[in-house]
């Protein structure tokens, strides 16, 4: 007999078994009759000696397959049937649990990716990264002369340290259109320190790093594939770097290696301008070094500090009070962007979902105590009953877990492409250990509370269970549990939602500011004019004038402007020395600066709030003018017309630079530059003509598709300068989305989790209370039959609701205040205390609790007592 026949052809086998045993009896009887005995007596004899047909059959079935497994199959089938019969309950339980598990999974995965990810470098925790902090507490990088001194003086490095500085690098004249890439200028040992080698070609050598060496470049795998078609003979090819320098490609780095963040091209540090490399105050570099075995970061600190102190004495002009800041490369990448709040929230949501589920299961368990008593009465062992319930619970937990896994897989798939552009080395992926842990949570919750009826049955005993189970009212003990769970859930939700409400309000306040920027149809690209061909301001201004004229003449292009940085990216910095000659603060305040051309405000926003935009005259000598944003006006200008006021500004980090006076000619709406610190930073807009930067962002608005607009920009730019490279093309929409994701991800994530908590709690609160009331339908009927009025009955149940509400508010409000303080401490944009949110959330929960106690009671009181009494 094949095994599958044994397992799956039950009915046929049973028929055969029956026929075989019957055949035996018939033959025995026939033999007896032939020997002259009476048939009836024979049959009686046979039945007596054979010991009962059913026992024989059972023994044969046990042979067919082990009894434990056979019962298991039966139990699974009946569990499935029971859950299908009670499908609203099952759906509610499964969805609640699945949502919470999914949310927790996604949150944990995100946290893991941002805080604990592995970097694709050899033992990244053994790589030290060195930065500096100056006497005023401002963080900076390392200058090249300092780097050389530190490298040679600190014995712990053994000379093996590297420095690098980011910068845009364009490639051209290599068979493709010139294009701008994220570049990194690296010293020769950089890749060696990281422990990564090129997969094709060679690493930089010390000779490449010498001043005046032939220019060489190493490219990342991604542009090797996209720009050079993954051709192996790319090594040795000559490209025009930055529109001016021919360089030879000497290597291709491994897939996924984009050090430091999203670098596409690496050049030797010797390709940086000599001025950058020689100045001690040009702290544009970062320094890394691999720690030898046995050395730790403290040793690096101990060895660098005296060197820094010596430098401060030797070069007081530039190095006074400049101290090294040493951390591990891993720590520099991980952490900082997120905080533990989402984790806490996800945990609380799991708790709420568990409480929901516990309530549902407890309520249902009460309803089933009669069924269980019947099972016990007709011979089910306690283990068998427990197993039946266990299987049901496990089934619930398993389905919820599977849904959660599937859902989070889809979510991750949708969001990881977006996330890839924001942070390097983020890998949002499922983690087996995490999934196992969530499965444990799911199964523990479901089994713990799913088994309640079995314990109840064991305690009460069969007879009492039969008499009382599912009849009049749920047991006092279960009711106490339910009540406690409801109160706990109410309080948790209140706290969580108040926090989420705060986060959401903050989020939307920030969001409202973004409406000032017209993001639709706007394409941005970075343009860097090489300093060798565009040495003077005049040349740069002329280029951009020509570009603008050509663009506006192209079909479909409606507006074009340039700015030193586009919206949603960090602005430059200036020190605000004085307003109208009066010093603002000491030390002077930092304000944001953006250099813009006259078309900026009507291209990016809907024009100015007050005053005039820049004209072509502004920024030329004798016409020093600035435009400030509203935030700036609110902070520094006080009452009175802001127009015509004078500002005194100075570049940061250069106390010797002469301050510049300028007149405010306009007020712009708030345009967000970045989601850091304050919601909106005060920004001063400087006219493009005054100081046209070499690298600017071109913002072009076109009526056609983004692709058409980009093509028009490319054509216009290359018609003027065929070697000019355009940087990465973006839309304002994408810039906004990206900046939001990076910086207020926490807030929006928190708001989403809060919303989920609200839905879960309202559903849970309602269903648990409604279930409790429905269970007491017969009690209501009896009370009504005995003459209780509808109002009296209603009050009876409202009392329970009131208990839950009172208990929930009493514990929830203090908890939410505490959470609000935590939120305020960890998310800068959030308020600490917001009575409106607290009241609104309380109102929603109280409403849900009241509705849950009124609606079902109302229905029950309207039922005729006779009907209600009959109902099961």
């Amino acid at each position: 007999m094949t095994w599958w026949r044994r397992w799956f052809c039950d009915r046929a086998l049973e028929r055969e078994l029956d026929a075989e045993l019957r055949d035996h009896v018939e033959r025995e009887v026939a033999a007896g009759v032939r020997a002259g005995q009476s048939e009836a007596e024979l049959r009686r004899q046979v039945r007596l000696t054979s010991g009962g047909f059913d026992q024989i059959k059972e023994a044969c079935r046990d042979v067919r397959r082990p009894r434990v497994l056979a019962d298991l199959v039966t139990d699974c089938r009946s569990a499935g049937r029971i859950l299908m019969k009670d499908r609203w309950f099952a759906a509610g339980a499964v969805i609640t649990l699945a949502l919470a598990l999914g949310a927790a999974n996604i949150t944990f995965i995100t946290e893991y990716a941002t805080r604990l990810r592995d970097l694709p470098f050899e033992r990244a925790n053994r790589v030290a990264i060195v930065r500096t902090v100056d006497g005023r507490g401002r963080e900076g990088g390392v200058s090249y002369p300092d780097f050389e001194d530190w490298r040679l003086a600190a014995r712990v490095f053994d000379g093996r340290a590297a420095a690098f500085a980011p910068g845009a690098i364009s490639l051209g004249r290599d068979g493709a259109l010139p294009e701008q890439f994220d570049g990194l200028y690296v010293s020769a040992d950089t890749f060696a320190v990281l422990g990564v080698k090129p997969v094709l070609g060679r690493d930089f050598s010390a000779a490449d790093n010498l001043a005046g060496a032939e220019a060489v470049a190493i490219i990342a795998s991604n542009i090797w594939k996209t720009r050079y078609g993954a051709s192996r003979d790319v090594v040795g090819r000559t490209v025009l770097v930055n529109g001016t320098t021919p360089a030879t490609i000497i290597g291709v780095m491994p897939d996924g290696f984009r050090f430091i963040d999203f670098t596409d091209v690496w050049l030797p540090i010797s390709q940086l301008p000599a001025s950058t490399l020689q100045r001690r105050d040009a702290r544009a570099l970062l320094m890394i070094a691999r720690l030898p075995d046995g050395a730790d970061l403290d040793r690096v600190r101990a060895e660098l500090s005296p060197v820094a102190a010596n430098l401060a004495v030797t070069y007081p002009e530039t190095n006074k009070d400049v101290r090294p800041v040493v951390s591990s490369l891993e720590a520099a990448y991980n952490g900082g962007l997120t905080d533990s709040l989402p984790l806490l929230t996800a945990g609380l949501i799991l708790l709420i979902a568990s409480a929901n589920l516990a309530n549902l299961l407890l309520a249902r368990g009460t309803a089933r105590s009669r069924e269980i008593a019947i099972r016990a009465a007709i011979g089910a062992t306690r283990w068998r009953i427990v197993r039946q319930l266990l299987i049901e619970s496990l089934l619930l937990g398993l389905v919820a877990w599977l849904l959660a896994v599937g859902g989070s897989w889809l979510t991750l798939k949708a969001s990881s492409s977006q996330v890839d552009t924001v942070l390097p080395y983020w890998r949002l992926k499922m983690d087996g250990r995490l999934l196992a842990m969530l499965a444990a949570v799911a199964l523990l919750t479901t089994t713990l509370f799913g088994l309640a009826p079995a314990f109840h049955a064991a305690r009460v005993g069969t007879a009492a269970g039969l008499k009382d189970g599912g009849r009049v009212s749920s047991g006092a003990n279960t009711r106490r549990w339910t009540l406690a769970l409801l109160v706990g859930q109410f309080a948790l939700t209140l706290a969580l939602l108040t926090g989420a409400g705060l986060a959401t309000r903050t989020f939307y306040r920030l969001y409202a500011v973004d409406l000032n920027v017209r993001t639709a149809d706007a394409v941005t690209t970075f343009v860097r004019l090489p300093s060798r061909t565009y040495a003077t301001s005049g040349q740069r201004v002329t280029f951009h004038q020509q570009l603008r004229d050509r663009l506006l003449a192209s079909p479909g292009i409606t507006a074009s402007t340039v700015a030193s940085v586009p919206p949603f990216t960090p602005a430059g910095r200036r020190q605000l020395i004085a307003v109208d000659g009066r010093p603002v603060s000491d030390p002077p305040a930092d304000v944001g600066t953006v250099v813009v051309d006259p078309a900026y405000f009507h291209t990016v926003t809907r024009g100015l709030v007050l005053g005039q935009p820049f004209s072509e005259l502004h920024g030329t000598s004798g016409h020093q003018a600035v435009i400030v944003n509203q935030r700036f006006a609110d902070l520094y200008l006080g009452a009175g017309s802001p127009l015509g006021r004078h500002l005194t500004l100075r570049p940061p980090n250069s106390p010797s630079a002469p301050p510049v006076d300028a007149t405010i000619i306009g007020i712009s709406p708030d345009i967000r530059q970045a989601y850091e610190g304050e919601a909106v930073v005060p920004v001063v807009y400087l006219p493009f003509r005054a100081e046209p930067p070499a690298g600017v962002t071109l913002i072009v608005r076109g009526s056609g598709a983004a692709g058409t607009t980009v093509a028009a920009v490319r054509n216009a730019a290359n018609a003027i300068d065929p070697d000019l490279a355009l940087g990465a093309v973006n839309t304002l929409d994408a810039l906004r989305a990206r900046s939001r994701l990076a910086s207020i991800g926490t807030v929006s994530q928190y708001a989403k989790l809060g919303g989920l908590a609200l839905v879960l709690s309202v559903v849970g609160l309602y269903s648990a209370m409604a279930y409790a009331v429905r269970r007491r339908t017969q009690e209501i009927a009896i009370r009504t039959a005995l003459g209780a009025g509808a109002a009296q009955v209603r009050w009876l149940f409202l009392r329970t609701g009131a208990c839950v509400i009172a208990g929930g508010v009493a514990t929830g409000v203090p908890a939410s205040l505490a959470l609000g303080r935590m939120l305020h401490a960890s998310v800068v944009h959030a308020d600490a205390w917001d009575p409106a949110t607290l009241i609104a959330v309380s109102a929603i929960l109280v409403g849900a609790a009241l509705a849950a106690s009124i609606v079902p009671v109302d229905r029950a009181t309207r039922l005729a007592p006779s009907a209600a009494l009959r109902s099961e």
């Binding site: 035996h24 033959r27 026939a30 054979s50 010991g51 024989i56 023994a59 044969c60 046990d62 042979v63």
Partner: protein
């Protein structure tokens, strides 16, 4: 009536295999044959016989099919499989060795006192 005696553990399977070895045979006939040959010493109840038959069938020592017998009844007839035949040979040999040894010991020590 001869004295009935309990079968030692595991011997029923051996006896069944031996009886079935003679040719296709149904359950009732197996019980009759065992009783007849053993002169009524071995009497197998249905509750032991059929689970044993099914166990042997699951272990693929026996195979079965439904046939119409000479009396016109539909019965399940068991046959030995190749591995059943092997098993029978091995077990019979080892059983004989064992019983021989046991009787040697019993005789050497002078039989039951």
């Amino acid at each position: 009536v001869a004295e009935r005696s309990d079968l030692p553990q595991g011997t029923l399977d051996l006896l069944i295999l031996q009886v079935v070895a003679a040719g296709p045979i149904h359950g009732y006939a197996i019980a009759q044959r065992l009783q007849l040959i053993s002169r009524d010493v071995v009497q197998v109840a249905q509750g032991s016989l059929y689970p044993a038959l099914h166990r042997l069938e699951n272990r693929r020592l026996l195979t079965a099919d439904w046939r119409t017998s000479d009396t016109g009844r539909e019965s399940k007839f068991y046959r030995l499989t190749a591995s059943g035949r092997r098993q029978l040979k091995e077990e019979a040999a080892s059983w004989l060795r064992l019983t021989e040894a046991i009787s040697l010991i019993l005789k050497a020590s002078g039989g039951p006192r």
